[in-house]
């Protein structure tokens, strides 16, 4: 391979490109937004795009860096969204907006992180692909729980019920979560600026983690779990660190997302959303954060852009997805490309040194 790379410069390259594109987007879009030069629909997409970028980067930590498949990332987003909304409403109008936002995002992150821990403890110690199944179920369970959860707040604190508003037994309080109607009366305290800050924090945490002792252990586990164990890496511990970090960041994104709307329903964070985020990651590139940012932004906006195609919108969306997948980094496309490259190489180097075959099979 001609390609040489240094760990340090790789770290620098990733940092510069990712922070760079985010800051650039901010510097261009923020003044336009402030001046009211952006269309209403585009302006409304800014915070959601920020939230989805955080979702995709955090999912990439689990899928691309750790190599575990998660099919319920929207579940963590949901936990963050509703706990963040409850926190923000409970704090009341007397609290400054910034504080409501920050505390809401933090609480959303912590609760999602704890859910990640609870899922990870039983599942990540197993060998095999159980995480995909369990996270899939987790996402659906969260959706169904929120759908029949009623939460209200009054002077005495928070009230919970699984049946209806009346059974919250509040005299003079505010109902925050109304079962299938979702969370209502959320303060719209999220802004483009706060979305950008959350992305930068996410990039800082994830890129630093990947390029550290812990990150090396995580990548080693993805590369070869048996070898990683053989050099003394505690598999479960490092899988947990990656998964919990990923879940907590998703929770923060969820809280940010919720506080961009005055009401939000659990259906928003269903299986389709989890898959959508996974598509952003796959198209953006496994373990590649710059690509993730670009893929998320483009793919999130595409359905809007294609709106003029009317009923063919989703059909065109699907075709574009397939084309992009083939053109970039699907394993199928990669294999095809590698095969062609190998074929050409072999044509020129046939007489040269033959590759030594690996020794016989062993029984691990």
């Amino acid at each position: 391979m001609l390609k040489k790379y240094k760990n340090l410069s790789n770290y620098a390259r990733t940092s510069i490109s990712t922070y760079g594109i985010i800051l650039l987007a901010f510097v261009i879009l923020f003044p336009l937004q402030q001046a009211g030069a952006l269309s209403y629909s585009f302006s409304g997409m800014l915070v959601p795009i920020c939230a989805y970028i955080v979702m995709a980067i955090s999912l990439n930590l689990t899928v691309g860096v750790l190599g575990e498949l998660s099919l319920g990332h929207a579940g963590f987003m949901s936990i963050g969204a509703f706990s963040g909304a409850i926190a923000a409403v409970s704090l009341g109008n007397g609290t400054p907006d910034v504080l409501r936002l920050v505390l809401g995002v933090l609480i959303g992150g912590v609760l999602a992180g704890i859910s990640g821990l609870l899922i990870g403890i039983p599942v990540l110690r197993l060998k095999g692909d159980y995480l995909a199944i369990v996270t899939l179920a987790f996402g659906e369970i969260i959706k169904n729980i929120v759908n029949c959860l009623y939460v209200g707040v009054d002077a005495a604190g928070l009230h919970f019920s699984m049946t209806d508003v009346a059974s919250l037994h509040m005299t003079n309080g505010t109902v925050i979560l109304k079962g299938p109607q979702g969370a209502v009366g959320i303060p719209k305290v999220a802004s483009f600026l706060s979305g950008i800050i959350l992305i930068l924090i996410t990039l800082f945490v994830v890129i630093n983690l990947v390029h550290s002792r812990t990150g090396r252990a995580i990548k080693a586990i993805r590369n070869n779990q048996i070898a990683a164990e053989s050099v003394g890496i505690s598999i479960t511990k490092y899988k947990m660190i990656a998964f919990i970090t990923s879940a907590a960041l998703a929770g923060m994104a969820g809280a940010m997302y919720a506080m961009n709307y005055s009401s939000i329903v659990a259906k928003k964070f269903d299986f389709n959303t989890s898959i959508l985020i996974l598509v952003f990651v796959v198209l953006g590139g496994m373990g590649k954060f710059f690509g993730t940012i670009v893929a998320t932004t483009v793919l999130y906006m595409l359905p809007e852009i294609f709106r003029e195609f009317g009923e063919y919108r989703m059909l065109i969306y699907a075709v574009v997805l397939i084309v992009v997948m083939l053109a970039t980094n699907s394993s199928g496309a990669k294999m095809l490309k590698d095969k062609i490259v190998d074929f050409v190489k072999n044509l020129f180097a046939r007489s040269k040194n033959k590759k030594v075959e690996a020794g016989g099979a062993d029984s691990e």
């Binding site: 550290s212 070869n224 048996i226 070898a227 164990e229 050099v231």
Partner: protein
């Protein structure tokens, strides 16, 4: 724990190590896979600075012994003592931290990571840093990273691989990949290193260099080496004690000269056509 026995086979522990606790002992070690007894009644000891060999025909159970010693498999019977301490119930990672490292018959590198990062993963437990510093790259992060880098380069340099440090491990030539696996194992600072067919697929000059390196490992790091190998020239030249397995059972133990003359060995192993 099975009944304790006298340290067996003192004869194959080199003179200089005899009065010290063997770095590795097994007592009546055995494992069954369903109906198949892959290893049975294996009792051996490896001296603290011994180069020992484990040989036998294909399918004899040699790799299975390594998997038992590193707790990849839990033994059905018997005990393993590492530096006098039982490894029963420990995980593979814990056993490594107790002082045993290995290479694999079919190479298992972290192939899309750089060469130096492979070694740094090996150093994982020797340079500690706080978890928070991994997220922030501060609180002493730079200092410990520097230490990782210098120690990894030092190890790579020892095996003349420093110039390959920033190559992708999976893109190295075959011989270099085998060497890197050894470097990675040594990075964990073991008391004994297990090499599973280290010369497989190597040409004669690479094999000669490997022999030198194995001696260098023992002399410089002052540790024991237990190796599985089909290359009889290599085994007879560098091993001080040899254990021969056939169908999971020990059929002979002794010095290279004793092994060469043992009729059972000749029949079971040396007499047969080598299958690689």
């Amino acid at each position: 724990m099975s009944k304790m026995v006298q340290v067996p086979s003192k004869s194959i522990v080199p003179e200089r190590d005899v009065d010290k606790t063997p770095i590795l002992e097994t007592h009546h070690l055995g494992i069954d896979f369903g109906g198949l007894t892959a290893v049975d009644d294996l009792t051996l000891a490896v001296g603290r600075t011994e180069i020992a060999g484990l040989i036998g025909p294909n399918g004899a159970g040699k790799t299975t012994v390594f998997n038992l010693l590193t707790n990849v498999y839990s033994p059905t019977r018997g005990t393993i003592l590492l530096d006098g301490k039982s490894t029963a119930g420990k995980s593979t990672a814990q056993v490594n931290r107790m002082g045993i490292a290995r290479t694999f018959q079919n190479i298992r590198l972290f192939s899309d990571m750089s060469v130096i990062d492979n070694v740094k993963v090996g150093l994982h437990n020797s340079v500690k840093e706080s978890l928070i510093s991994n997220f922030t790259h501060s609180f002493g992060f730079k200092k410990s990273e520097k230490e990782y880098t210098s120690r990894a380069l030092e190890l790579l340099d020892f095996f003349k691989m420093a110039d390959l440090a920033y190559e992708e491990a999976g893109s190295l030539p075959y011989g270099a990949q085998r060497r890197l696996e050894i470097v990675r194992a040594l990075a964990t600072n073991p008391g004994i290193v297990l090499l599973d067919e280290p010369a497989a697929g190597m040409n004669p000059s690479e094999t000669a260099e490997l022999m030198n390196n194995i001696r260098k490992i023992r002399d410089t790091f002052n540790i024991a080496v237990l190796l599985i190998e089909h290359d009889m020239n290599l085994v007879m030249n560098i091993c001080e004690g040899i254990c021969v397995l056939d169908h999971g059972k020990v059929i002979a133990k002794g010095t290279p000269d004793e092994i060469k003359q043992n009729p059972k060995v000749i029949e079971a192993y040396l007499g047969k056509k080598r299958e690689g």
